[in-house]
Each structure stands twice: as structure tokens, then as C-alpha cells.
């Protein structure tokens, strides 16, 4: 492990990051920039974000604390933290390779072989190799443990048959982290699952784009028809797929492997909503003179402030003694639901203008709010729905029994 930097060293690095993002951040490339990696739809957006990630990596501000021998910066994690802070400060675009850097990378660094680390890590940092996630299936989404895509071993290969769906960046990806069934006789549904680092650009794998509620493309259905992959793609051993999948969730929460840095989802700037409200009119008067709107906006401010402070409180063990898993587990539920409500609320400010959508010159803020509201569901559904999050909080933080 790299040494903890002195305050002076850290400041020097932070100043350099600040200067770099100040100079290099493009906020308006002339087309809509995705707010999340799940939103990437046009070639233009994809190419821009891929280039951007490579640039940030090459400048030394992504993967700064990942091991040097595989392409990282080999520095203490504090360095990455200040670099990410600089990105936020200049409102830099997202990092596109979320599944690679956020999920697959940490898993490989933690449990992978030397060869796997050499093969996969650098390419995901440069965004040369885009990764996707093949967990959900048409018939099994929330019930992920029931995934049925078939992986049958033949010699030193596995033969894959079945389908994955809602695969974000599936048509762009070179690799997929894949959850497949290798044992149909296992004593329970979880034990029959295995985890693969699966190549996408091979015979037998095809994708078909799915149009999203926003009218754009971005995720796909992935079809596997006698697709043959090397047995070396198996990760973590046969029958351990479920625990590998669950491990990726731990990385998301920042355990063990140092975070790669950057962000895959842009946080909504709530002050923008307050601004929007302040600039909106109702019955010839400022909207925030309306007592109902005032009260609602105030409650949202209370909610936002609580969730922002929760992030600090999570790191204060003295305020986390009772139900220590509570705050970490509720975070996704509380945050994504709040953003959905808030963006919906913001449409109500716009009066007749709420009728416009992205692409019309009369739309408020180029339709940003409509797009944000519609896209907010990606987070209340993707990554485990809010209902499933409530089950998780209930069962793992409050100790309530499972629903059967």
C-alpha cells in the first residue's frame, strides 16, 4: 500500500487536478450529455464520453489508487479522492465504463488471477474495453437468483444459450459480467449459478436495441445461441456465481478495493430546482409565494439536506451504533426515490411549458427536467427496484422475516 500523503503533497496534487479539470472540462459539446452511464444512446455521446474517460485516465486522475502493474497510478487513495472532488467541482462529465470500473474491475483486482488482471484492468481504465452486465433476464429480474441462461461445459469450453435483457451498453461492450446456470440439479437456485467474464464480440452472441421511455436507445436485449466461450472465462469457480454477483455489490459500497474514482451518475444539483422555482410564475406571482409549493419545496429541502448529511454521518461510528447497516442500505432507496419525486415536482413549476419536451426551442432548460424525471426511473428500477430495496432494508437492517 502506498504511503499516506502529507497535507502538502495532497494539496499539490489537488491543485494540479483543479487546474486540469478547469482547463479540460467540456460541459457543452453541442449535444446533450448523459447524466448516467445508462443514458448513453447516440454514437456522438458514446464517442465523446469514451474519449473523455481516456483523457482523464491519461492525465492520472482515474484509477490513481489502483495498482501500477496493471495500469493504475499506484498512489494512496486520498489522491484519487481529491481528483474526484475536482471533477465534481468543475461539473465534469461522467465516466462511461461503469460496469468495468465499478464492478468487474474491483472483483478482478480482489479475486482474479495475475493473468486476468493483466488482461482486463488497463483496457477498462482507458475505456478501450467497455463492459456490460448480463444479470437480468426476460423472465427473471428481481428474482435474480432464478436466472436461467444455460452454460454447458463441453471440453474446455462453455456453450451458452438463452437471453439477457436491459443490458446497458450491451451493443458497445467488449466484455460482459455474466450470471449463468451451470447446474440445473443443484440443491437450490443459487448454487446452480456461475459467473463469467464473457467476450461479447463472438459468434452466437447478438444484441437488439430497445427503445427507452425517453425515446432514445441505450440498452439492449442480448441473445446467446450456441455461443462458445473458453472455460477460462469462468470466474470464482462453478457454483459460486451468486456470491460473485453479491460481491460486486459490496464494491459498490466501497469495501476493500479502493474506488477507481470519478462517478458514473451525475448528482442532481438541487439548487437548480430552487432557482427554477424562483424563476417560475403562478397567477402572476412568483411560484414560491404559493403556500402549497412553498411547503412542498421546504420539505424537499429537508429531505435533501438529510440525505447529503447522511453521507457524512455514515463515516461517524459514534452516530451509527444502533442498526449500523441502516444508513448504508437505505441510501439507494432514499436517494433515487427523492430524485424521482423532485424532478416530477419540478415539472409542476413550468405551467404550460410542462407540455414541451427535449428538442423544442420553447422547452424550459432544453427539456432537462422532463428528461431527468423520465430517466430517474432508471435508478428506481435498475440495480434492484425500490421495492426490493425495501425488502433488503427490512431484512438486513431491521431484522424482519423474508416474504415468501
Amino acid at each position: 500500500m502506498a504511503d499516506k500523503p502529507s497535507a502538502a503533497e495532497l494539496k499539490e496534487f489537488g491543485d494540479a487536478a483543479d487546474a486540469w479539470f478547469k482547463e479540460n472540462t467540456v460541459r457543452d459539446p453541442g449535444f446533450m450529455l448523459p447524466l448516467t452511464f445508462m443514458e448513453v444512446s447516440t454514437d456522438q455521446q458514446f464517442d465523446f464520453l469514451r474519449d473523455w474517460q481516456r483523457k482523464v485516465y491519461e492525465a492520472g486522475f482515474l484509477g490513481a489508487s489502483w495498482p501500477k502493474e496493471y495500469g493504475g497510478g499506484g498512489m494512496h487513495s486520498e489522491y484519487q479522492r481529491v481528483a474526484t472532488r475536482a471533477m465534481k467541482k468543475y461539473d465534469a462529465p461522467i465516466m462511461i465504463n461503469a460496469i468495468g470500473n465499478g464492478w468487474a474491475g474491483p472483483l478482478i483486482l480482489d479475486l482474479g488471477s495475475e493473468e486476468q488482471k493483466q488482461t482486463y484492468i488497463k483496457g477498462m481504465l482507458t475505456a478501450e474495453d467497455i463492459w456490460c452486465q448480463g444479470f437480468s433476464e426476460p423472465e427473471h429480474g428481481s428474482d435474480l437468483g432464478n436466472a436461467q441462461l444455460k452454460a454447458v461445459k463441453e471440453g474446455d469450453e462453455y456453450v451458452l444459450n438463452g437471453s439477457k435483457i436491459w443490458t446497458s451498453l450491451g451493443d458497445r461492450a467488449k466484455y460482459m459480467i455474466l450470471l449463468a446456470r451451470t447446474d440445473f440439479e443443484a440443491e437450490n437456485k443459487y448454487k446452480g449459478l456461475s459467473f463469467f467474464l464473457n467476450p461479447m464480440k463472438i459468434d452466437g452472441i447478438s444484441t437488439s436495441r430497445i427503445k427507452k421511455l425517453t425515446g432514445e436507445y441505450g440498452f439492449v436485449q442480448t441473445f446467446f445461441s450456441d455461443a462458445r466461450i473458453s472455460a477460462d472465462c469462468l470466474f470464482g469457480g462453478e457454483g459460486n456465481g451468486w456470491s460473485m454477483a453479491m460481491k460486486t455489490l459490496e464494491y459498490e459500497r466501497g469495501a476493500k478495493v479502493k474506488p477507481v474514482g470519478g462517478y458514473f451518475v451525475k448528482e442532481l444539483d438541487v439548487m437548480q430546482i430552487v432557482e427554477l422555482a424562483k424563476n417560475s410564475m403562478r397567477n402572476g406571482k412568483p411560484l414560491l409565494d404559493d403556500p402549497v409549493m412553498r411547503d412542498k419545496m421546504t420539505q424537499y429541502m429537508i429531505d435533501i439536506q438529510a440525505l447529503n448529511l447522511n453521507n457524512t454521518r455514515r463515516r461517524m461510528p459514534q452516530l451509527m451504533q444502533d442498526k449500523p447497516m441502516g444508513l448504508p442500505l437505505m441510501n439507494k432507496l432514499a436517494r433515487t426515490e427523492l430524485i424521482r419525486e423532485l424532478t416530477e415536482f419540478s415539472l409542476g413549476f413550468q405551467g404550460t411549458k410542462a407540455g414541451y419536451y427535449v428538442g423544442d426551442e420553447n422547452a424550459v432548460d432544453d427539456g432537462y427536467w422532463h428528461r431527468s424525471y423520465l430517466n430517474s426511473f432508471s435508478a428506481t428500477i435498475g440495480g434492484g427496484t425500490s421495492e426490493i430495496q425495501r425488502n433488503i432494508v427490512a431484512e438486513h437492517a431491521l431484522g424482519l422475516p423474508k416474504t415468501r
Partner: protein, 374 residues
């Protein structure tokens, strides 16, 4: 918006949290809470004495007045644990009276009363009147100069623990201006206190008839400090009540969880039904938000601007989350939930009472809106 505060703790706060957690749990088990409901005084005098001996009434009193010299931030964990265990005593009103003295009392008044309070003497405030207005300046009780004394008139309501208090600080109008009058126990005659029936059966409250009560002419806070006294009272009361309600929310959620984990219907533990499980998670999320706000308010205590925003956010969130969690607790206990024996009602009633004292969640939000948007 730069009037939003941060969160943090002090070492003393955390030490007090540990001590208060054990003390309140041990000294206020539920059977005792229930027994005290039928007790005249409403609290255990031995426990009250111990609270004084622990120095808890001295926490936010400066050292020069024989206090500990900490701040309201360190009172928060104690009030939280008291709320959690429904431990009702004059702790809150006494702390509040000390804060009022610090904001508005003269050197002499502070020197006379703060050391006594720090040593364990109970005190309270008499603020509310028949209008029911939460605006502390909207009052009609009055005081008239008569020689070297002031003769008071009018009626004060919701004077908590008045029968135990050695000192009552009452708001009255003198020459049309709001002033705070220091009324000693000895100045109050027979029949001036009427015990009120209040929704929170664990607390005690009185109507105080001021008519013909006379106090020395110098027993008023300085006129120039009325405004800051009102502000201090509002904020200190908001913080104390937010802490109690936060502790109460935690308790009523735990109480509900206990039932959800043991009661069976249709051969299933009822906690496995999502119609109960999911709202309980939502209530828990709201509680954690309230607790985050509480410790942010404690941290921001004393910061101009931020302090008030943080306290009102804490009070609003604590009141709405406590009310909701206790309301659902009644429902989720079924027929038992409708009984006096079920603890859910104790919490539901206390949430109503606490909101009545300081202003409910909607009132806090209306105050906040001005601070945030205007």
C-alpha cells in the same frame, strides 16, 4: 444556499450519550413509566435528584455560574434518550429556563438563578395563552408597575411541571411590550395552579392564573433583550423537543418491529407481509433522516442563521417522523393497538403534545420557507 449546516459530534456529547443511554433505560422501564402516569407528581423524585447530581442540568450553563460550560449540543443526547424511554421530568423545562436566563437575564438574575438550577432546582416557562398561537409575542397577559412591584394579570397555559418549579419565567406585556417576568414559587398563592388534562399522560402541565401575583419591579428581563430571548427559547425548545421526538421515533419503531417479528396470522409472522414491512422501512428511513438533522442541529447550535435552519429542519422532521411512526404502530398492532396497554398510544400522544409545544412540522416548515427562499 449557504445557510445549510454540517454534522459533527463532540467527545463530551458521545460520552453523555453512552451514560444517558444506560441511565434512562435503567431508570425508566416501561412499568415505571406506566406507574407514573397515575402519580400526582409524574416523576420519581429520586431519579430527579440523580439527574441533578449527574450535573445534567448544569451542562449548558457557563462555568462562572457553577455550570459545566458546555452547550445545548451536549444536552441533545440526554434529551434523546429521555424521549426514547419516555422518561418525563422537568429536565427540559429547567434547561430551557436556564437558556432563557442566559439570553435575557441580567448579571444579577443569572448569578442568582443559574447556580441554583445547575445544582438541581427545577424551573419552567409560562408562554402559551388561550389564543393557541405559537407566536411567542402574541400574548395578552400583562404586568403593571405598582410602587416597587409589578402586579400581573391574565392566564398562562401549558406551564409544564409548574408544581415542581422553584422559578417560573412568564411572558407578559408591560406598557405594550413583551417582557419576561421571573416568578418565584413563593409568589404564587393557593389556587393559582390548575392541573390541566393533557394528551401526553406522562407529562404534567398547569394553567397558571397570574391575577394578583406580584413580583419585585426588578424581576423582569431587560426590555432590550426580549427579541433575542424569544429566539433563544424557540431554538432551545425546538432542539430539546426534536431530540425527545427523535428518541421517541426510535423507540416506537423498535416497539413495532418487535411485534412484527413475533405476531403470527395466516400461519405467517406478520412482518413478512409487505403491507407492513415496506411502510415500516419508510418510517425507519424518515427516522434516520430526523436523527441526522438532530445531530446537525446540535452541531450548528449557536451559528447565526444556520443554527435556526438546522433546528427547524430537525424539529419538522422529528415531528413528522415521530407522528407517522407512532400512527402506524397503532395500526400495525391491530386490536391490541387500540388499547391503553399498547405503548404505541403513549408515543402517538407524546408526538401530538410535543408538536403543540413548539409548533408542528407544518409550522416549522413555514418558518423555514422564509429562511430558505425569501
Amino acid at each position: 444556499m449557504d445557510n445549510l449546516g454540517n454534522i459533527g459530534t463532540t467527545e463530551e456529547q458521545i460520552e453523555l450519550m453512552d451514560v444517558a443511554t444506560n441511565f434512562c433505560r435503567d431508570k425508566s422501564p416501561m412499568d415505571k413509566v406506566r406507574a407514573l402516569i397515575d402519580d400526582d407528581l409524574g416523576y420519581d423524585p429520586d431519579v430527579w435528584k440523580e439527574i441533578g447530581e449527574l450535573g445534567w442540568l448544569a451542562i449548558a450553563i457557563p462555568e462562572k455560574h457553577e455550570g459545566v460550560g458546555l452547550s445545548m449540543a451536549e444536552v441533545v443526547p440526554i434529551a434523546e434518550q429521555m424521549g426514547r424511554n419516555l422518561m418525563s421530568t422537568p429536565f427540559g423545562t429547567t434547561t430551557l429556563a436556564a437558556q432563557a436566563l442566559l439570553a435575557g437575564g441580567s448579571e444579577a438574575q443569572q448569578a442568582e438563578w443559574l447556580p441554583r438550577i445547575a445544582a438541581g432546582c427545577a424551573a419552567t416557562l409560562a408562554l402559551s395563552e388561550d389564543s393557541g398561537d405559537w407566536d411567542l409575542a402574541n400574548i395578552t397577559c400583562s404586568g403593571k408597575l405598582d410602587g416597587d412591584s409589578i402586579v400581573l394579570s391574565g392566564k398562562k397555559q401549558l406551564v409544564r411541571w409548574a408544581d415542581s418549579a422553584e422559578l417560573i419565567i412568564a411572558s407578559v406585556k408591560v406598557d405594550g411590550n413583551v417582557r419576561f417576568a421571573l416568578i418565584e414559587r413563593s409568589a404564587i398563592g393557593e389556587g393559582t395552579l390548575r392541573r390541566e388534562s393533557i394528551i401526553d399522560e406522562t407529562a404534567r402541565s398547569f394553567e397558571l392564573t397570574l391575577d394578583d401575583v406580584a413580583i419585585p419591579a426588578d424581576a423582569l428581563f431587560d426590555a432590550s433583550r426580549t427579541r433575542e430571548t424569544i429566539e433563544k427559547i424557540e431554538l432551545a425548545a425546538g432542539l430539546i423537543q426534536a431530540a425527545e421526538m427523535c428518541g421517541g421515533s426510535q423507540a416506537v419503531i423498535d416497539y413495532t418491529l418487535e411485534y412484527l417479528k413475533t405476531r403470527k396470522q395466516f400461519d405467517k409472522i406478520i412482518g413478512s407481509f409487505q403491507a407492513l414491512k415496506h411502510p415500516t422501512v419508510d418510517n425507519y428511513v424518515e427516522y434516520e433522516k430526523a436523527r441526522t438533522h438532530l445531530y446537525s442541529a446540535a452541531y450548528s447550535w449557536g451559528e447565526q442563521g444556520r443554527g435556526e435552519v438546522a433546528v427547524r429542519m430537525a424539529a419538522a422532521q422529528a415531528h413528522s417522523s415521530y407522528s407517522r411512526a407512532a400512527d402506524r404502530s397503532i395500526q400495525f398492532h391491530g386490536g391490541f393497538g387500540f388499547t391503553h396497554d399498547c405503548d404505541a398510544q403513549l408515543h402517538r400522544r407524546k408526538a401530538i403534545f410535543d408538536g403543540a409545544l413548539i409548533g408542528d412540522a407544518a409550522y416549522q416548515r413555514s418558518k423555514l420557507a422564509s429562511l430558505l427562499f425569501d
